[in-house]
Amino acid sequence: MDPRRTARTVSDPKVRQVGFFTPAPPERSISDPPRFQDPIQPSSPSPTQVNDHSPSGNSLSPVMIPPAHHHSDNFLRTALQATSPTKAFSYSAKTVTIPPENEDVASSFSPGRKVVSAKSPSSFPGVKASSVPASELTTVSVVNLPPGISGKCVYKLKGKLIAEKAGGASVEVQNDRPVSAKTLKEKTSKAERRALQEAQRAAKAAAKGLNLMSVLLTYGYSVYLVYFTFEQILNNFVPVDHYVFLAEGTKASSAASKVVTSANTKPSKAAKSSSQKNDGSQVAASEKKGCDRAPEKDRKKDAPHPRMQYDDKSRVEKAKKRAVVKKTEARNRVELFRHLPQYEHGTQLPDLETKFFELDPMHPAVGLQYLSGDIRGGNARCIAMFQAFKEAIKDYSTPPEKTLIRDLTARISSYVSFLIECRPLSISMGNAIKFLKNRIAKLPLALSESEAKSTLMLDIDRFINEKIILSERVIVKHAVTKIRDGDVLLTYGASSVVEMILLHAHELGKHFHVVVVDSRPKLEGQLLLRRLVRKGLSCTYTHVNAVSCIMQDVTRVFLGASSVLSNGTVYSRVGTACVAMVAHAFRVPVLVCCEAYKFHERVQLDSICFNELGNPDAISKVQGREEINYLDGLVNQENLQLLNLIYDATPSDYVSMIITDYGMIPPTSVPVIVREYRRDHLWS
């Protein structure tokens, strides 16, 4: 096992980002020590160490981490106070002489750590502010012991606590332990055995300059992880057993003491994570069942989420436990798309309905509308979401002892995760949320609550006006120039921008014909058609099956998009790619209309990795025609898999031009827009 672990840490900086998927930290606790060793003695942190930390810093998404705050400090301090007695107690149980030594080195060591953080401010931004002291101190308490002893100490600590439940130092700690250590009595001996092994290993490592300190550094690290990125932890950024402890921590105590407990549990965790790597996950799994999931509200911040892979059973289980909306996984899914979430349709809505008031103040109406398909389309969903957020912000009042910036961010995150449970976010929504969170984080601290709220609401209005409404107008202005008299324009689905273009061109008195291509099951084209016909446009309506026949007469194809990715791929309603390709084959120019706020820097080559699965019933049944029931009773058959994809990706080769608020650009220029205006989108 060991070699594999070290191998992983070697590729640390890179893998870490991805590695957050898979439990990494506990392994680090063993393999890392050499690196952490350095700073202590020469107090000159090696670059590797900085690197080692930076990913974590990055993953915390520096923007989101608020500067140091009083009460964060307080938390940490209390955390430390709470921890120290236990430690002292455990040490004294082992060796009387150690504690003073401890403190000595503590003071000598702390500067070293500070150097680290000061040296790499950019790569280590979040931690620096408030949590370093904490990690420092936590670290200190064990670091300086000779490795072997310290190892034992840690184990003893665990054993002790298990044995003497009435330790008294802090009730919480004990509350945690028994649960975590599952079968205390029977496992103690085993644990001790492991402790011995571990100690021996540590001693060996010490010869090479190993020190257990790293173990605790890791804990320190996870302490601030706890503090700042509760959400990430819940998202399985941290290995399973860390995770378990955190959950227990939250269970045992309220938000304030959360950090305390997690800090407290760390030492024993130290023992645990290193000792139990093998069976840790199993134990964790069983323990986990007992404890409540941390409430959504505690999710602390937004971070680059690793996309959940829904074919990973254990993770899905976990996610399900903290879900607000009860969902039943659909059973028969197409192999290729197993990684995407798919739920039995109709199981979510009733459950959510019953909880309608409990979700207060999450404004679940919007989520319901997403879920039931009452609102669809990137712009509409984005606007609806922002209107709900506006309501939420209007109703919001900062709870005592919290700061608006952090608490509101957490709130918004919880709303967002709720919305995700209702329906996966569109890219436009993702960008909009990023914008809002940035605005919250950028709020000056001095601002009063009402001012801050009104600023945010104004920001939201501005975003809707500038990024959606104005950009649609600009797009219309650009696109209309491409419509000439006698044109035959083809559009697919129902894009709000394309509709405006057509209507505007009609108002300008241009004479053209529109072909609306539609597809089942949503038949959105019919709604568009209805509105166009009502305005007096001459239209043809057909389904996508017939697109190759009608394409001969078409002179331009106008398409909407859910997103445009930075390799020029157009991510849009399923069927768009087909239309674009046919158009390409017939040498008809394809114009994609997309607001710039929907652009995304991601590169996507296929529509498999990221997509959304719709309700399979929608394609197996025909609405309004009960007599078409050939699939009745077959839907749950093992050998039948229904696939209702929502999006597809159109390669940039088939796109002649993208019309956006910055003008008409070739698809190859998308990265320029993303690069140049991204800042503008998020920070304006």
Binding site: P350, L352, E353, T354, K355, F356, F357, E358, D360, P361, H363, P364, A365, L368, Q369, S372, G373, D374, I375, R376, G377, N379, A380, R381, I383, A384, M457, L458, D461, I464, N465, I468, I469, A494, S496, E499, L527, R531, R534, K535, G536
Partner: protein
Amino acid sequence: MDFQVVVLAGGNSKNLTPLVSKELPKPLLPVANCPVLNYVLHQLEQSNLKDLIVVVEGEDAALLVGAWISGTFIDRLHVEIAAVPEDIGTAGALRAISHHLTAKDILVVSGDLVSDVPPGALAATHRRHDAAVTTMLCSIPVSGPLESGSSGGKDKAKKLGRYNIIGLDPSKQFLLHIATGAEIEKDARISKRILHAVGQMEMRSDLMDAHMYAFKRSVLQEVLDVKDTFQSLKEDVLPYLVRSQLKSEALLNRTPQGEENSNEKVSSQNNQAFISRILANASTPSFHGIYSENPAGSSSTRKTHKCCVYIASSSSYCVRLNSIQAFMDINRDVTGDADHLLSPNNIIGPSPKLGTKTTVGPNCRLGEGSEMGDKCQVKRSIIGRHCRIGSHVKVVNSVVMNHVTIGDGCIIQGSVICSNVQLQERVELKDCQVGAGFVVTAGSEYKAESLAKKEK
């Protein structure tokens, strides 16, 4: 959440005499030793609705109810009691408190509803469709006693009134027609306009209006203001709203859309219109939306509002306590099939003193401090607190409230015996209701009668 909850607790119900009296208004009528209002309040509390307005008919009743609520729900609910004059009907009661209503939507619940349907479901439906009114329908409960039927002649007349004729659209989301009460006997008049717009209507008579509504406040207040003859929500307001859903009079549909940050008034209005258009285009229009667009393509749109329904699943329990029969049914169900409704604060007191050879069957509930003599039999019955029951007494399918004294050798079947009643020896009661404080003389026999003290 912006929902205000109004509980129409009622007061002195004529249907329930002699069970209710001045001392015991309807909301406090014990169902399985727990006031019926408790079921509603508990249900609301479970749904995290802690800010309630309880409307009670009559000052005295209001005082009693208020005292009980403050005793029971202190620190758990924030309840305001409003006393309204008697006999002004549900609509009148709402009119009386209408100036207290401020939230965007109002949830109106009848105080005599014993149900496990979460109010959130109704509210969710309401919000999802942005409806003017949403009503909860539930399937008509299987009423009637298991055996030894006690359907008095009075109840038969009532039964008709319970049925509603309800018209739904094919998706079962919108209410197109509702006939209640006396209207059922008449011919059903269905608006051609509605039928034309929807295309297809499903008429059902197996659904019952559960008297739980969500109203848009502006709509409700306007209707109450304009139509000041409306007495009842169920018989006047709701049918009116349903009838007029495609020709909303006045501003029913146009709720003022929040505040506008008026930077540039004209442009912001434009934007607002733009946004609402995007949102409207994004959703699948209901028949209201389609209808409201004039086919001629002119700019004027017809005003509509939506009347939605939430149909409770057939597995859920939902009964209104509005007749003696219902009272018996609920008592039976609450101790039997639907015992999950019993809220946790409905604690069974310390086991009552039982004489030798006394048997208490299943589905019974005995209050604290009750004493029973030797060789008694209690089956499927509820006995309140501090009752004294002599020996050789048989109580079957009955409800005995608090502080009742029952002499030796009484036989009570399918009856309701209110508080402080004294039954002397060898009384035989079958399908009777005995009002509070009544004294039944020794050896008397009654069948299907209602006994009460003369009102002074």
